[in-house]
Amino acid sequence: MLQFIIRRTVGALVTLFLISAATFFLFVAAPSDYASLACGKDCSPQRLEDIRQALGLNLPIVQQFWDFMTGIVMGRDFPTGHCSAPCLGQSFYSGDMVWGTIMDRFPTTLTLTLGGAVVFLVVGVGAGMVAAFRRGSMVDKVATGVSMVLSSFQIYFLGPIVLIIFVYSTGWMDNPQYVPITQNPWGWFTGMLLPTLVMATIFTAQYTRMARSSMIEQLAEEHVRTARAKGMSRKYVFFRYAWRGSMIPIVTVLGIDLSSMLGGAVVTEITFSLQGIGRLAVDGAVHKDLPLTMGVMLFGAFFILLFNILTDIAYAWIDPRVRLS
């Protein structure tokens, strides 16, 4: 087990390194003159040179990359100040430290992800299980129909509708915003309620469909049939035997969904004008801000690799037959 985790971690670190290398060289290879972008419209040659110097753009590309990578591990010094250990560089556009900016924005994205996950796991998987348990009943038909329609909605359509109903026309809620939970827990809750629910609604629909079909597939398995033939009650078999197996595909998708959401719930953040990681990525791309974009990409890739490992561990926990090797 421990060996497995160590081996996967090393593999993940190598992948992270490769991703940063690929991203870095692609950005540098692109014929964008970052210094002149950072300098603005009427830029004197002297000032341009100063900016190049400050950003380290005069150094060879490999040297720049090396500085960037060592900065992540050991920190780095800039003319404007020191940047401590996980140093992802300094934004070309705003001049802020990238790691600091990401940490400022992360609570918003984390709230969305965790809040949403609680809702869609409880409601979505729950509804899917009930629908599978009472297959063919009225409950099943309603759950299937509603989830089918809702999963065809998009956040950028459902979001404005919800805003129009609850904020613009009735004024029942304030415009969504992020308030730190340590400052004002109630404000945090009400401010993030609409975005989280809208995002969770669409995921709930997808998880209902998935949980239902995965459960039905499990119920057709031989070990379930044998258990039933031995005379065990339907309920017992359902909740003790079939349940475990049906979790495998759900855990797989959950890992992918959570990791991509933590790397920025882009659509939700834009729809509700929240300042999260996804919004940061868009800002970085629009301003052609290389360090910011690199930082956000690495941050997102980190979660993907982390959740890959966690998913594999979860498999072994759910199904003891799975060997981690």
């Binding site: 992948t15 089918m148 404005p160 026309s169």
Partner: protein, 348 residues
Amino acid sequence: MTSPAKAEGSGPSVALEPELESKPTPAKEEKKLEGRSPGQLMWQRFKRDRTGVICAVVVIFYFVVALGAPLLTKLSGTDPYTLYGQDPTYQDTPVLDDFGLPLGYFGGLSGTHWFGVEPQYGRDIFAMLVYGMRTSLFMALGVTVLMMVTGIILGLIGGYFGGRTDYWIGRVTDFFLAFPQQLFFIAFMPVVTAFFVDPREETPTYFRALAMLIVLWVLGWMGMARLVRSTVLSLREREFVEAAKVSGASPWRIVRKEILPNVVTPILVQFTYTLPSTILTIAFLSFAGVGFVEPTPDWGRLFANGSKYAEQDPSFIFFPGVALVIFVLAFNLLGDSVRDAFDPKSGR
């Protein structure tokens, strides 16, 4: 469909397995006996699925609308670029009030503006929607075909030749899967455009389309490659491939004649799932502001504007949104039907 066909139709679901193993081509010559290719069987099962057929019709309708966008806008007499609210030619028929909001009921519905007009500029929503669908659908079709072809080729090579080749293709696939997709799309759109155009100049629309195509393609082929690889891996060990090998067929012939016909169906199923998700990804890029920009009509851009105007003109987002929901719903149901037709055992 006549009744005898129906009576026969209930049988094949059991006989599917042996049917898959035989090669589809020679089966046609025997007339009396059961002799239908997996494709024909699938088509027969699909025809009996009423939801599937209705959804197929809806999806085809959308493509026809997208193709016929210029004709449709000729009928309504509008186009997606004219600013009906600001252009002096249209002063006699004002569409916007003093605040730049549409005049009339539900976002300015009228005989000329079937779905209303956009606030501030007064562009026609119907024209923007049908032209936007045209952009999105055909772009997505192109991207999906590219992704599929790449995935199929890499999957075939990896699955059939195995060994070292397979290992490295697998590692490359894993590497690409580790990229955060959404962030990658957003981050690399400007980079890829920068390869073609000076960043200080205006990017032409077709360069934007090309950049989107490249970005989506690079991160989109992995699912297909994995699917084809695993299918080929199980096919490779089957007797009919062995037989072909023994009789001296070249690898290229075996892949083309023995293996490819048997992976067509899973590819088809995957295709019906991938196409709508590609359409949504393109819409997402435009929504995030890194895809198509003004004034190119695009489905995703309508949502960006729709949520911008949601407070003043809530009706703007209605028609593009409902159109998208119906389209995605039909496509999802179609995907399920195609899958069921392919594999009747997977009950819904």
